[in-house]
């Protein structure tokens, strides 16, 4: 084990004498390899602190969401409660993927959003390509380490804001963390990107349906209609939801 780490720690714990402190700082300017070790020590501390903060915030969010849910109560007059029980019994996956309407009544948009997220966004499929940052982020996501995954995806974007996959995943992670503003920001930016199959508008609508604040459902409906009209990604699901709206 390198003795330098212990020496570096003594410096930051203020265990060195004034003369030893001066020699430590001179060594940084004279020896690039030593300076790099000091840089690594501080970077590691920063990263570990970031991760610790992210984990605590996730705990606080769970506490707050449990006591102050953002959802709105079911719309008056709807039969969503009965149909929700029917849906659970009737295999939700095929219904959502195929967009087949088994429901005879309207569904609240927030329930549609919850169902979609549970069935389609629990995991991001890893690709068989060489391990890279995106794959690492996906692995963390699939282990439900959302805070860690978000750090990776946003770091990719910080280096290159055009990375559409990283932006898509950053939006999805933010949605899973109920950080709707951040999710909306990522998905809005994604919508503006030229892609062969752009999921941005659909995810934008999904996030609004999940957030369910005044005005959100109206805007979500408008976006879903645009997904259908413009033949964008997931237009079949958008069409099925519009029928149930």
């Amino acid at each position: 084990m390198s003795d330098n780490l212990s020496y570096i720690e003594d410096y930051f714990n203020k265990s060195l004498s004034p003369e030893e402190t001066r020699l430590f700082e001179e060594r940084i300017t004279a020896e690039p390899a030593f300076a790099e070790e000091v840089s690594f020590y501080i970077s590691t501390r920063n990263l570990a602190k970031q991760q610790s903060v992210a984990e605590k915030k996730a705990r606080f969010r769970a506490l707050y969401d449990a006591s102050e849910p953002a959802k709105v109560v079911e719309m008056p007059g709807s039969k969503t409660r009965t149909w929700r029980l029917v849906a659970i019994a009737a295999s939700i996956i095929s219904i959502v993927v195929l967009g087949v309407v088994f429901f005879k009544s309207d569904r609240h948009p927030n329930e549609l959003a919850d169902e979609y997220i549970k069935e389609n966004l629990e995991e991001i499929s890893p690709s068989m390509s060489v391990q890279d940052s995106l794959e690492a982020g996906k692995q963390l996501y699939n282990k439900k380490d959302y805070a860690g995954a978000l750090i990776i995806f946003e770091s990719i974007l910080n280096r290159d804001h055009r990375q559409s996959r990283a932006r898509e995943y950053a939006g999805i992670v933010s949605l899973q963390m109920n950080n709707y503003d951040k999710a909306l920001s990522h998905f809005s930016e994604l919508e503006e990107t030229r892609l062969e199959s752009n999921p941005g508008k659909f995810y934008h609508a999904l996030t609004l349906m999940k957030r369910d604040q005044p005005g959100d459902n109206e805007l979500a409906k408008k976006l879903l209609q645009e997904v259908v009209d413009q033949h964008l990604w997931n237009e079949d699901v958008a069409a099925a939801w519009l029928k149930k709206w």
Partner: protein, 199 residues
């Protein structure tokens, strides 16, 4: 009122005392602190026109800042916990509004300016800061995740400011010296793995 794991809402004194402990008592104190004043979030929405998410972020940052300050002795108990936390929260809300209005929000800062950096002399700090800007934080994060749970827990506890003797109690090590040796070994392992994949 004595500390009790079955009582989620502790008195202010009990919260402060609990935050200076380790393990589950500290976690309960952190959660109790959060829940005791979480009505500030609605005030942030109402008084500063923040969204629910923005107000939640400002309040979470407030609680985390308060925990750090209680542990480093900055909070001396001259005012009530409520008054003090409310003041921090107001400042966080104002900072957030200021960032929004100047449109300076970045997706993610590569590295926050660390207090450790400012302990160095000017020349040394300039050199180290430049090297830190070239650190591949994604790669470092990946390697941290692959270090193993015990190393990861130890490094997070250390970054949180827990002294080695408290980490020893928390993670069931014999002594603080054993913790220090293990922790430096974890860091060296992390550094090797980072260097191996970077080259």
């Amino acid at each position: 009122m004595a500390l009790s794991e079955s009582n989620p809402q502790l008195t202010e004194d009990a919260i402060v005392e609990g935050l200076r402990q380790t393990g589950t008592i500290r976690i309960k104190a952190e959660e109790s602190l959060f829940k005791t004043f979480d009505y500030f979030i609605k005030e942030g929405i109402r008084n500063h026109s923040l969204t629910r998410e923005e107000s939640f972020d400002a309040y979470s940052d407030t609680v985390l800042s308060a925990i750090d300050k209680i542990n480093d002795g900055t909070f001396e108990g001259r005012s009530s916990l409520k008054t003090w936390i409310y003041r921090i929260f107001q400042n966080k809300c104002v900072d957030l509004l200021r960032k929004k209005s100047t449109n300076k929000q970045s997706i993610h800062q590569t590295q926050e300016i660390s207090g450790l950096l400012y302990m160095l002399s000017d020349n040394a700090r300039t050199i180290v800061q430049k090297m830190m800007e070239n650190t591949d934080m994604e790669l470092l994060m990946k390697r941290l995740q692959q270090l193993g749970e015990q190393c990861k827990k130890m490094l997070l506890a250390w970054a949180d400011g827990l002294p080695d003797r408290e980490i020893a109690t928390l993670l069931e090590y014999k002594t603080a010296d054993v913790v220090k040796t293990s922790r430096l070994r974890c860091m060296e392992k992390l550094r090797q793995q980072y260097k191996d994949h970077k080259s």
